[in-house]
């Protein structure tokens, strides 16, 4: 138990180091841009600020949903719907949740991490992430540019691709686990 806790602390500090290194690299890019094209720096910062402002409500919603899922979703429940033994219903629910979810993709990562730790299948995480590409509120503009038939066909193929992708990821993960087990 103690060993597991120590391992988790080590992992989270490593992740934090990785996160801050990434942020520092991006800041360095901005410093370089300041010396090369200072006017573009202001525009880039303005574009970033706009993105940040637009996702604030979603961020708040995500934190709230994470809190609710921490309280309501126990590992047993998740593994029942989206866990190892979840059948067709799990694939259907992750597809549906993926389509209905909104906001930037990276604001959902912490929630998925939480669900993964509670037993969510990796294939279903992939399905959820892939189906986030289908945005119901944005369909009208897609129809305007490409037509309704195009949009319907594309959405159907994307759902099929998401399930295939999830299955492939699970097969590879299973093989990796078996191989690792044989090597240990």
């Amino acid at each position: 138990m103690r060993l597991k806790k120590e391992k988790n602390t080590k992992k989270s500090s490593k992740n934090l180091y990785y996160s801050f290194s990434f942020l520092i690299v991006v800041i360095v890019l901005y410093v370089v841009l300041f010396f090369l094209k200072p006017e573009k720096l202001v525009n880039s910062l303005y574009a970033s600020w706009n993105i940040f402002i637009s996702i604030i409500p979603v961020l708040i919603l995500v934190i709230f949903l994470m809190g609710v899922s921490n309280y309501l979703l126990k590992p047993k429940k998740v593994s029942k719907y989206l866990g190892k033994k979840s059948g067709l219903k799990g694939w259907f629910l992750s597809t549906l949740f993926g389509i209905l979810s909104h906001g930037s993709i990276y604001v959902w990562y912490p929630l998925l991490k939480d669900l993964k730790e509670r037993g969510m299948r990796t294939g279903l995480i992939a399905v959820f992430l892939y189906n986030r590409a289908i945005k119901i509120p944005l369909l009208p503009i897609m129809i305007y540019y490409f037509g309704i038939f195009f949009v319907i066909i594309l959405c159907i193929y994307m759902i099929v691709a998401s399930v295939l992708q999830g299955k492939i990821i699970e097969i590879i993960e299973d093989k990796y686990i078996v191989q690792r087990g044989e090597n240990v």
Binding site: L16, F22, L23, I63
Partner: protein, 151 residues
């Protein structure tokens, strides 16, 4: 009465703890989140849409591949990809390339890859993005071919 109060108190504690955990978990992802937003800002301002239209030539497989490549390194709201894709179509870029471009834009996240790898694991993130890239090509070809059969 005392047991009922204790139960309510326990529930309250659990709720507070659940939201504290949520905030803590979210706080750990903030450096990556800020980094990604700043990077998207850089891409939005410094990669002009004219550069995108100069790359597509008309060859189906080459265009579909490049469509997926450019869609993969681009990021932002999908609405932007629909608008760019629609405008590229108007400028004569093929539907294979544009479909691959908009599909990869929303399914592959090279810019978000560090965040995804850090939070969901390197192996998973890499596998998911490589497969999404391949599927964006297949989905584009299947969609356009089906559309040609139907219409």
């Amino acid at each position: 009465m005392k047991t009922a109060n204790k139960k309510i108190e326990n529930k309250r504690k659990q709720i507070i703890l659940s939201f504290y955990k949520a905030l803590k978990s979210f706080g750990a992802t903030l450096p990556i989140l800020i980094g990604v937003i700043l990077l998207i800002g850089l891409f939005k301002v410094n990669i002009p849409s004219k550069l995108i239209s100069s790359i597509f030539t008309g060859e189906i497989f080459r265009d579909t591949f490049f469509g997926s490549m450019i869609g993969s390194i681009s990021a932002g709201n999908p609405i932007t990809s629909y608008i760019i894709g629609g405008e590229l179509l108007k400028e004569g870029v093929g539907l294979f390339a544009v479909t691959a471009f908009i599909t990869a834009w929303v399914t592959v996240g090279l810019i978000q890859l560090p965040a995804e790898a850090s939070i969901l694991g390197k192996r998973f993130a890499l596998m998911r993005n490589v497969l999404s890239f391949l599927f964006s090509i297949l989905v584009a070809i299947a969609t356009v071919l089906t559309l040609k059969v139907i219409i």
